[in-house]
């Protein structure tokens, strides 16, 4: 049979610089696993990459319906990239709902791989479609490749001891195999992963491995495609050792590393919440690094236990998302008053209230900076990319212990679940900042609220003889820390706490613009807009425009020297996934600067193209 025509394996390989694939299916179809496996293989092959998982809040919405559609976008490239791409080149649609939801994003002329085994009348009805898009002509603009994956998997796994239902669960690996063939990827990584994942379930292991192989072989055997594609390794990545990393993972690792660099033990008090739970889960797996994890009864108990641990001499931290931040705010105020180190991680999601739990947003900025009763200043940092979460977390630990203060570390859903290659830092190059606990009374006696050059008070571990002292949320006397209701002492302490936090700017660098150091426009970002901004600015710079990009890892206090940078550009554009919160702050801090706010609050990151359009529009009006 296979000798009747030349094998497709001999089809010519077409080279692409980068490709964006979106896998879309039911929540139960395993699209996240499929996407992650494809990503993993691309990473090991040396592509630069970025991913964007996009899934519903419901764990398993009714099968086949639009609310149940789960997607995973991966972009892999032979050149440097900063985003998972605006539009997919390929859409894998496991059912009509997945097709209907995602087709509007597909690039004109893009490829649709549709699982026709799931396009019967009742499937169309579940997706709420009046007609079959595969036959009604609505996909004219695309190249549609129809594969009955249900049937193919059934055939491939004939004789498997698995039930027919279990056999159908292997569809995603058949699909992955097909994509591996199309993009000339080896199967080894995924075969190995399946072997490990299902080590104790050989039937599942064999079936999934077989489905993967069958999907790959189908590319050869069936005349589905006119050609195969390849994306060469990225050679412009700086030399080094790399691994693929997700944001939550990198952030958790950064906290472990930061604690180690401080010479402390990490104590995580957290309560599960989307999209931050991964941090608690990751830290729970780091017990052999000495990490203590406490899954508390609620958000409040989580931060309170972390503060208690910090009082006891560990580095306490808590991870949460917006609604949890709201609950923790009273305890944050206490941490400000106690002047104990603490790291509070807020993985932002769409709000208000429950909002869009699985979608991204940056609208907790003002809450992070100001969201507590009275004057309760807290330094705020923001991660910008999955890999960068590692060093930002270390920086959060450094500020917390050096200034004896709670620190808020902002991430968001886009960073948390996205992944990219991470160039691993050399351990010996990570700067240590060991904590010196006070162990005996200094000359002149022990004063719990005495201060060092950074205005930090001494940290004493309970259990230290001779330094017994009491601290609490009532206003304290300067130096002694005893209860004090005196009006002037109160103002003194309010100013002291504020000066201490503002003093953090003495130990943080001034960011540098990327591109011309003066010009028509500076595109300024903070948090996860970094990738989109960098991509867009590269596009307009290539067209010869005098536009630079700059990013703020420290969002409060703002670093020194921003005023002189801003003064060198005619305008500063601020794309934010909120209604302009950073713009509001910058306008009050730097009144003379022409800030242009560019808000987007759709639960989705900025597309490169929309930023390019906005930048070009601004440059037009400037003329």
């Amino acid at each position: 049979m296979s000798t009747t025509r030349a094998s497709n394996a001999e089809l010519p390989l077409q080279q692409y610089e980068n490709v964006v694939i979106r896998f879309a299916g039911d929540s139960g179809d395993g699209m996240q696993i499929t996407g992650n496996q494809f990503t993993h293989t691309a990473a090991v092959l040396g592509n630069d990459l970025a991913t964007f998982p996009d899934f519903p809040a419901e764990i398993r919405a009714p099968a086949g319906t639009k609310p149940g559609v789960s997607g995973f976008q991966v972009r892999f490239s032979s050149s440097d990239i900063h985003t998972p791409g605006d539009q997919p080149d390929v859409l894998v649609a496991m059912n009509p709902a997945a097709l209907a939801i995602n087709i509007k994003d597909l690039k004109p002329g893009g490829i649709v791989i549709a699982n026709t085994g799931q396009f019967a009348e009742r499937d169309l009805a579940k997706a709420g479609l009046a007609s079959n898009p595969l036959t009604d002509g609505s996909l004219k603009a695309f190249r549609v490749i129809e594969v009955d994956i249900n049937q193919r998997v059934k055939e491939a796994l004939e004789g498997s001891p698995l039930s027919p239902k279990e056999v159908q669960r292997c569809k995603n690996f058949y699909t992955l195999g097909l994509m591996y063939w199309l993009y000339n990827r080896p199967l080894e990584n995924t075969l190995k992963w399946l072997g490990e994942k299902f080590a104790s379930k050989p039937d599942l292991r064999d079936a999934n491995q077989k489905a993967l192989q069958a999907g790959f072989n189908a590319g050869d055997i069936h005349e589905l495609f006119q050609g195969r594609y390849d994306v060469k390794p990225c050679t412009s990545m700086p030399p080094g050792t790399y691994r693929n990393i997700m944001g939550n993972e990198a952030l958790a690792m950064g906290l472990v590393a930061g604690t180690e660099l401080a010479g402390l033990t990490l104590y995580c008090g957290s309560y599960p919440i989307t999209p931050a739970s991964g941090i608690l889960e990751q830290l729970a797996s780091y017990k052999n690094y000495g990490v203590l994890t406490f899954q508390a009864e609620d958000e409040i108990a989580a931060i309170c236990a972390a503060i208690g641990a910090s009082y006891a001499g560990h580095l306490g931290m808590t991870s949460t998302s917006g609604p949890g931040m709201a609950l923790k705010s009273e305890a944050m105020g206490l941490a400000v008053s106690l002047e104990l180190p603490l790291v509070i991680v807020d993985v932002q999601r769409g709000g208000p209230s429950t909002g869009l739990p699985t979608k991204t947003e940056q609208a907790d900025l003002l809450q992070a900076i100001f969201g507590r009763n009275s004057e309760a200043p807290i330094p705020v940092l923001a991660c910008s990319m999955p890999a960068d979460a590692f060093e930002t977390a270390i920086e959060a630990c450094r500020i917390a212990v050096q200034y004896m203060t709670p620190v808020i570390l902002l991430s968001d859903g886009y960073i948390a679940n996205g992944s990219e290659p991470w160039r691993l830092p050399k351990v010996e190059e990570l700067q240590r900042f060991p904590v010196q606990f006070l162990t005996k009374a200094p000359e002149g006696g022990f004063l719990p609220y005495a201060r060092d050059a950074k205005r930090a008070r001494p940290w004493v571990k309970p259990g230290t003889p001779g330094l017994e002292h009491r601290i609490g949320g009532i206003e304290k006397s300067h130096l002694t820390g005893n209860i004090n209701y005196d009006p002037l002492n109160h103002e003194f302490m309010v100013r002291m706490r504020n000066d201490k936090v503002m003093g953090v700017r003495d130990s943080i660098p001034t960011p540098k613009p990327m591109g011309p150091d003066s010009g028509d426009l500076l595109v300024l970002g903070w948090g996860s807009t970094a990738g989109s901004i960098a991509s867009a600015v590269e596009v307009v710079q290539a067209k010869g425009k005098k536009v630079a990009a700059m990013h703020l890892p420290h969002v409060w206090p703002l670093p020194k020297g921003l005023d002189t940078i801003f003064a060198r550009y005619k305008a500063v554009l601020l794309p934010e996934m909120n209604l302009g919160q950073m713009a509001r702050i910058l306008r009050s801090e730097y009144p003379g600067v022409n800030f242009v706010s560019y808000p987007k609050v759709q639960g989705q990151p900025f597309f490169t193209a929309e930023l390019v359009t906005k930048i070009e529009e601004l440059l037009q009006t400037k003329r």
């Binding site: 052999n288 203590l292 108990a301 309170c304 208690g308 309970p462 017994e468 009491r470």
Partner: protein, 333 residues
Amino acid sequence: MTLDNAPLTKKDLKSDQEVRWCPGCGDYAILNSVQGILAGLGIPRHQMLFVSGIGCSSRFPYYMNTYGLHSIHGRAPAFATGIKTANPELSVWMVTGDGDGLSIGGNHFAHILRRNVDVKILLFNNEVYGLTKGQFSPTSPQGMKTKTSPMGSIERPMNPVSFALGCGASFVARTIDTHQKHMEQTLLAAAHHKGAALVEIYQNCVIFNDGAFEPVAEKSVRDDKTIDLRPGEPLVFGKAHDKGLKMAGWEPAIVEAAQADTWKADHASPGPAFAMAQMQSLPGMPRPIGIFRSVEAPLFDHGMNEQVQRAVAKKGKGTLKDLIYSGEMWTVR
């Protein structure tokens, strides 16, 4: 300078801060008893730590010359859990009240008991809100008239002992602020218990709820109106030690002292302790004080640290290099 190993006196445990409770407040007697028994425990001062929430009782840590944390309303159990799990060597004491512990902090209160964190919990129950000036609390009796319940509270009060038993507490006791000897022996039993130990203390608020416990706690009636639950001893009460309790069917009944059951605080089930705790709903029965329950249970603080030790023993202590250089890696030259 005090020597670390010199035995402590009560005076050593008094801080230099002026005590600011109302004159005649039951808190003074409790502070005095706590300082008294702690001095005799053989624990150095620097290993003792007092945690509290918000309320009159929660000022307690400021008056102890130990480590102390005056935290936020209702959350003391969470702070205490963080402290004790971070450093299980410390002797951690928590002070709370009926509002702090059972209203705003009811959730955390349940969980510290359920988890059996090795913390000694003193619940000052005065059946009223003191620091906010006299509103009804979750333990106030039905019908109590206060500024927020001018026509009488329509709430049913909760019973802290029953609640603690329901949470699976490993040690539950009750004592009375005016009964110094009983208070000291109860606190001592709590101090020696390994695990979360709850002591409910009937505490008189002279300003907003004066005499709330007088019907059972006043000296002249106390022996007839209360019964001291002493593990291993018969359930006998009365001035003349002439009355006893015996389980009759599902409920305890008053019998002659000679027929009294012997009290056991370590039954496999907390059922008998519940029966005692709920006895006050039966007319004419004495109010139980003493030790309702005292059983061994795994310690949460120990468990958390033991898992870390086990992981380190199994996988070796992770280094920064192990942490970062993990997973599938590749090299770009």
